[in-house]
């Protein structure tokens, strides 16, 4: 099938992008890495879009230290996150997650901001942002604002970004001494979306557990987190299985995904316990 785009414009900076969006009469779509949007265009799942290419906005790319946080530009490519030393040191969950994301060609183009804003319930980065307690930065016609990851994912492919707002980046807290971060997932083939996956972070303040590909949005499994804080793994597995209502599709049933969530939690805990030993 041939894409049926309504137009294309390249934004030179964020204000320009916002201006193009404002003038698009509702047809504007931000184009970053294009790894989901272009596929959708090519299947005519979306037609007549006015593509606003933000991929060349230099300010939105790169990783820097910002006090006790890392600030990651929205246009930072998956591959760059995977090989970045700051990320490896301060947010190793993101480095590890990259290994699970698709294939090299997609990692070379796809951006972390695109992955977050697209909000695919089976994607890794949204769940990482939740587990790390990231803060997302957005800019719109009325200025900039910060959104907690917990407040960002609303539904399948839906976020709390306002119409026309651009996700400019995210801040993740630097791992404290002794903090452990792991990601576990099972996919049918390497590079496929996970059948189910989870991210587990253990900090002094307690555990943070996010689960993905188990519902319409990635979610923090608060019941399981409390049980983990109490040191009761069996209760955590039970709580996790009760907290989710995974969908069935051609790859696996909801029952399988619920079972898998428990298996992955035990594996993740085993890994972080192993790290403590």
């Amino acid at each position: 099938m041939k894409a049926s785009a309504g137009g294309y414009a390249r934004a030179v900076d964020v204000p320009h992008a916002l201006e193009l969006m404002a003038g698009s009469a509702g047809a504007g779509r931000y184009l970053a890495g294009g790894q989901s949007l272009v596929a959708a265009l090519n299947m005519r799942l979306s037609e007549g879009d006015m593509l606003i290419d933000i991929s060349r906005i230099a300010d939105l790319s790169g990783i820097r230290e910002d006090g006790d946080h890392l600030r990651i530009g929205a246009l930072t490519r998956h591959a760059d996150i995977g090989r970045d030393a700051l990320i490896r040191t301060h947010a190793p969950l993101l480095s590890d997650a990259v290994r699970h994301i698709a294939h090299a060609a997609i990692r070379n183009r796809g951006t972390i901001g695109g992955a977050l804003a697209h909000a695919d319930p089976a994607a890794e980065f949204p769940a990482c942002a939740l587990a790390l307690g990231a803060t997302l930065h957005a800019q719109g016609g009325t200025g900039t604002r910060d959104i907690a990851a917990e407040e960002f994912f609303e539904d399948v492919f839906t976020t709390t970004l306002a119409e026309g707002e651009i996700l400019t980046g995210l801040s993740v807290p630097k791992a404290e001494a002794g903090e452990v971060q792991v990601i576990e997932e099972v996919a049918r083939r390497s590079g496929d979306y996970a059948l189910t996956g989870l991210c587990l972070v253990r900090r002094a303040a307690g555990h943070r557990l996010s689960i993905f590909s188990a519902g319409p949005v990635p979610m923090l499994a608060r019941g399981a987190m409390a049980a983990l804080d109490a040191g009761d793994l069996d209760a955590a597995v039970e709580a996790l299985r009760a907290e989710i209502d995974p969908p069935s599709d051609t790859q696996a049933s909801g029952s399988y995904r619920r079972h898998l969530a428990g298996v992955l939690l035990r594996r993740a805990v085993k890994r972080i316990e192993g790290d403590r030993a």
Partner: protein, 793 residues
């Protein structure tokens, strides 16, 4: 003089060696010429409006809005094309009772599967054609849908084609011996239910056709990605009311076929019909979604089967009840009954036993039509047979290799006729098994498995012996009335510069046919393979032939090439003998030079002989035959098919918490007779294994109960990828067929035939201590956990 194949140091010894592929450089450099690369003057594009319903009456078509789209030239309905293109019926006389209704290029009045073409929109670009197609309004009145195979014949299931009376397309029962008595007196009878999932071929290059009609000289030219150019020539001529001689089919580079591109597709015939109506070139390239919903599907079988064995593990009887749903039409012209028929022909294939009953039931339903795909019926028959044999071994407490050794035909038993009435000229089951055991170090692997089990790792070893049908005679299609050639031809000529041109009726789909032909011809004439240019895939240029299917290219096309090359060699030597005043029998051709046979002394380069023949023929004796061009055709006569055999093994690990299977290693020993190009054969086997592993672990087309296709994309239909593939060790035993001098049988499908069964048996070997067994492919993580009882709701 015959070729001393046993002597690897013989002159021009290219047969049996890995030589470079003549077309590899072109393809790697991106200079291949696929159909979509061809642009003709005044060319237009067609896009199809396809049925969104699995079964519906077409009550109205409104196309005015589409016609208003910029670039749209014309819109055709089924009724429009029915005026210029006759319908076809996919039946063959030798498949007794097979029935199918007439099928049109575009649906007329009724659509019968999701994806059936209903309206064609022609425009100056594909994008404009799609814009137009999106605006065509078709009114559908939905009809009752038939999707389930097993209930298709029930009294309360709607009949898809009322004129045909019921939903039964074909049924065949084969009985040999007394199965009931053998079962009754057996030491053990084991039953199982098997399921193989609906697949499709997923060719890298989608189906593609570009048709040009020249009213001026009454000639149709179809540039087509096809396996059988001459068959397509016949079909286009027959249904578009043209003389066969006025249809030229050109098949350039093809990006993989696997059986998908050997069938007649309504959208492709529609493209040709439109070209004839509009008098200008029309191109159709299927996109990936169209591929999933309209390329033929295959392998959708459900089977109940039983095996009876005595206390020593000897097979007493097999009983197989096979069911398959083929969609709403039997595919033209090869029919959709062949796959079920093959299951009947091939079950129990490697084994010497007496009592056999097998029935296949082929039913209509509202899904994409199914037809022949790589290793037609083999993966199903091998899974049934080898699954049952392993279950019998387990019931007897016998090693799976031992039970096979006790039942396989002895290597000196041939010729022999199987209980399915298949005739085997010469197979090597025991030698192949011996070689496999040595390659895989079976005992050490069993020790590793036991050691892993102590660590809580569940590893399994699976063995699958198999037979493969290759080199088909007219018994496959011709006797049923289809104009599908089982013979094939090759013309070999020498040009003035001493180079050789070979024109062959078999075709190149990317698998290396042209490399095989170049080395056969090089050895046959006595020149370097680089001096041979091979031309295939043009019905106006090459000798008439069948093309590529049923693993026939090397065995039949290769033999025709060898005979033509050797005839040319003789012609050259006769001219050389006159020029050198020598005895032709004392001369030979080596590396492009006429030499004295005994000493190898160089006497005359071929380019000098060419110069004399073509430019100074006056210096040769009057009346000397000087045709430096020879054509030979070859057909198998002694056996309906040249069966090959082999055995595969899989070693894998099952994660019993997640159900994930990790492939650790894979082996295949096969016997395709004479190996012409070892590397090509090995890679054919590996590629085939990968497709078999796809069936075992990943590939499954899903429909809902309304006949909607649920996974028509590469994200949802999982093909095997490199990261999950194990190393594949390939070994050979060579039992050449005596039907030809070359002795080659086919090698293209062996890998696919045996791999799924090997994996199934390995998984069950791993799960057996846990009391679990899987028989429904693909073996997804969920199916494995359900077999283990881990998931029950």
């Amino acid at each position: 003089m015959s070729i001393a194949f046993g002597n690897p140091d013989r002159p021009n010894s290219y047969i049996g060696k890995t030589v470079p592929r003549p077309n590899a450089r072109k393809l790697v450099q991106g200079r291949g010429r696929y159909v979509d690369d061809i642009v003709l003057p005044r060319m237009v594009h067609v896009a199809f409006v396809r049925s969104p319903f699995a079964h519906a009456r077409i009550t109205g078509i409104e196309a005015e809005a589409a016609k208003g789209v910029k670039g749209v030239l014309r819109v055709f309905t089924g009724a429009d094309l029915a005026e210029v293109c006759t319908p076809w019926v996919g039946v063959l006389a030798h498949l007794k009772g097979l029935k199918s209704p007439p099928q049109h290029a575009l649906a007329v009045d009724r659509a019968a599967w999701v994806g059936e073409p209903v309206v064609a929109v022609v425009a100056t670009s594909r994008a404009a054609a799609e814009d137009g197609a999106a605006l065509v309004e078709v009114d559908y009145d939905p009809l009752p849908v038939v999707t389930d195979t097993m209930t298709a014949l029930d009294a309360d299931t709607p009949v898809l084609h009322p004129d045909l009376g019921d939903n039964l397309a074909f049924r065949r029962l084969h009985e040999e011996g007394d199965v009931a008595a053998a079962m009754a007196s057996a030491h053990k009878v084991i039953s199982a239910r098997f399921r193989t999932a609906r697949h499709t071929g997923v060719t890298p290059e989608p189906r593609s056709i570009l048709v040009d009609w020249s009213p001026a000289d009454g000639q149709m030219t179809a540039y087509h990605a096809t396996q059988a150019p001459h068959m397509i020539q016949t079909v286009l001529a027959a249904h578009l009311d043209l003389p066969e001689s006025r249809v030229r089919v050109i098949c350039g580079d093809v990006g993989g076929s696997y059986g998908i591109k050997v069938h007649v597709y309504p959208d492709e015939v529609a493209t040709a019909a439109i070209a004839k109506v509009m008098g200008r070139p029309v191109k159709f390239i299927a996109d990936r979604l169209e591929s999933f919903s309209t390329d033929i599907h295959a392998r959708d079988h459900e089977i109940e089967a039983k095996i009876a064995v005595d206390a020593e593990g000897r097979i007493l009887a097999m009983d197989v009840d096979d069911w398959t749903g083929i969609g709403p039409y039997s595919v033209y012209p090869r029919t959709s009954a062949i796959e079920g028929n093959q299951v009947v022909n091939l079950c129990g294939g490697p084994y010497d036993f007496a009592n056999y009953r097998a029935r296949t039931t082929v039913v209509f339903q509202n899904k994409t039509p199914t037809c022949q795909y790589r290793a037609v019926g083999h993966p199903i028959a091998v899974a049934i047979t080898e699954g049952l044999v392993d279950m019998a071994a387990a019931a007897l407490g016998m090693d799976p290799v031992e039970i096979r050794r006790r039942n396989m035909y002895a290597d000196d038993a041939y010729p022999v006729t199987s209980p399915a009435k298949m005739r085997f000229e010469g197979l090597s089951h025991h030698a192949s098994m011996d070689k496999l055991m040595e390659m895989m170090d079976y005992d050490a692997l069993r020790a590793d498995q036991a050691e892993a089990r102590k660590r809580g790792k569940h590893r399994g070893i699976g063995i699958a012996s198999f037979i493969e049908l290759t080199n088909p005679s007219p018994f496959m299609y011709g006797i049923g009335g289809a104009r599908i050639s089982a013979q094939d031809g090759c013309t070999v000529r020498m040009d003035p510069d001493g180079s050789i041109v070979a024109l062959s009726g078999v075709t190149e789909q990317g698998q290396g046919t042209e490399a095989m032909l170049s080395q056969v011809v090089a050895e046959g004439v006595g020149v370097l393979p680089s001096s041979v240019r091979v031309i295939t895939g043009d019905t106006q240029v090459t000798p008439y032939g069948g093309g590529t299917w049923a693993s026939r290219g090397a065995g039949i096309g290769g033999e025709a090439a060898l005979q033509a090359a050797r005839a040319l060699r003789q012609s050259i030597l006769e001219v050389a003998a006159a020029m050198l005043q020598a005895d032709a029998g004392a001369l030979d051709i080596r590396d492009g030079q006429v030499v004295t046979a005994e000493t190898g002394e160089q006497r005359l380069p071929l380019e000098e002989l060419g110069r004399i023949v073509y430019f100074r023929g006056d210096t040769l004796p009057k009346g000397l035959p000087r045709e430096l061009v020879q054509t030979r055709h070859f057909i198998t006569m002694d056996y309906p098919f040249a069966f090959t055999n082999g055995v595969q093994a899989s070693y894998l690990e099952v994660d019993t918490d997640t159900g994930v299977v990790t492939l650790l290693n894979h082996w295949c020993v096969e016997d395709c007779g004479r190996v012409i190009n070892p590397q090509l054969v090995d890679e054919q086997i590996r590629g085939g294994i990968v497709q078999g592993l796809g069936g075992a672990l990943y590939e499954e087309i899903h429909y809902d109960s309304e006949g909607q296709l649920l996974n028509g994309s590469m994200a949802d239909y999982l093909v095997p990828m490199a990261a999950e593939m194990p190393d594949m060790q390939i070994g050979h035993v060579e039992t050449p067929t005596k039907e030809s001098e070359l002795g080659a049988k086919g090698a293209g499908e062996a890998g696919t035939a045996g791999a799924p069964a090997a994996v199934m048996n390995a998984i069950n070997d791993a799960l057996r201590p846990l009391g679990a067994q899987v028989t429904e492919m693909p073996f997804t993580p969920e199916r494995i956990l359900r077999a283990l009882g881990t998931i029950q709701d």
